[in-house]
Amino acid sequence: MLKKRIIPCLDIRDGRTVKGVSFINLRDAGDPVELARAYADQAADELVFLDITATHEKRKTLASLVEKIANAINIPFTVGGGISTREDVSVLISSGADKVSVNTAAVLEPELISRLANSFGSQCIVVAIDAQFIDGEWIVCVNGGRKVTKIRALNWAGEAEGRGAGEILLTSFNRDGTKEGFSTDITSAISDRVNIPVIASGGAGTMEHFRRVFEETSCSAALAASVFHFGEILIPDLKRYLQKNNINVRL
């Protein structure tokens, strides 16, 4: 049976992990490669790297980091953050990334999704959707949440699928960083609407939150950052807990 996936997410700037990470016995907690290896050893199912570097050197730094990560781990990983051209994707894929995620650039120019899917195959194009609950509607926001659009998240997810996205990474902006649990309502609505896998993100605080998002929605995976980085939840413990609650995971 296909397993539900648990995915740690790492924020990267200038080739280093951004937030303080207090995580098992790492020599260098700012080194994404060492963290990636540690998570792979803990049976994380995939990893996501989100690059928030704003400099012109970005592409080169990121490509060399991706190459190091690809050498260090033997599980799939996705790279995202500011990707807006076919060239961006080509560099990352040829450096060893399995998938890339696009966000703002795809909202500004939806045709980008079709172009990338045609060039690289749907299976490696993840569309990341940041959604905010405003006046009774889940609305897409861009630029890291700073700009709210007029697009309904549910419609955007449908369009992304139609244009060839292979997967959706859905982040609830209302819950991100709150540790109050995933937004199961919009996760459920989008997972039921599209026929591609959906990764739930934003709000993970306890193991129960993971159980609930898998029980109450048809999402395929759940992503979190700080609860893993600070060792508040250990992935092997989380997976044993989910298994006990009849949710199929890879142990």
Binding site: A70, N74, I75, P76, I93, A97, Q123, R250
Partner: protein
Amino acid sequence: MIAMLKYNSGNIMSVRIALQRLGHDAVITDDPDVISMAEKIIIPGVGEAGSAMEHLKERGLDRVIVSLKQPVLGICLGLQLMCEYSEEGNTECLGIFDTTVRRFPAGAKVPHMGWNDFVSLDDDPLLKGIMKSDDLYYVHSYYTGVNGFTTAVCDYNVQFSAAMRRDNFFATQFHPEKSAGTGARILENFLSL
């Protein structure tokens, strides 16, 4: 020398890195002479069937591959190219396995993406030491059903061939290079054939 077949775009670096981790380097090539002389050949798995077959035919590699006598391993799309025909792009494939590749029917999310175990496993050198409960990483929208060449069966809405074998031709629908220790074991099995 191990040769990895070059075609299309896509991440084929991972396979090479996985081999390097096991102490073997590979040349990535679409040169028919290099392929013919290699000790082992891997057909890695990313891209689209139609354009992949076109590329193989342009280089005369379709005839070279089917005549190989040394161990060959097809991964994901590699497995599908070794079949007779694929619904993807309405493509005539290599015909090593006389079976058809179809798109997953409605009823489950496509692509089949993530870790999955086995319904059954045959006694095959490629799968030595692997257990039914071991999870391997899959990402694919097309599959070939269970047939006379099937050595491992996986279930995702339908039962399909997770691995196949005909003489020196081995193939896996999953990605051993992305499947942690279990995948490494399978690559090791192939390397020690």
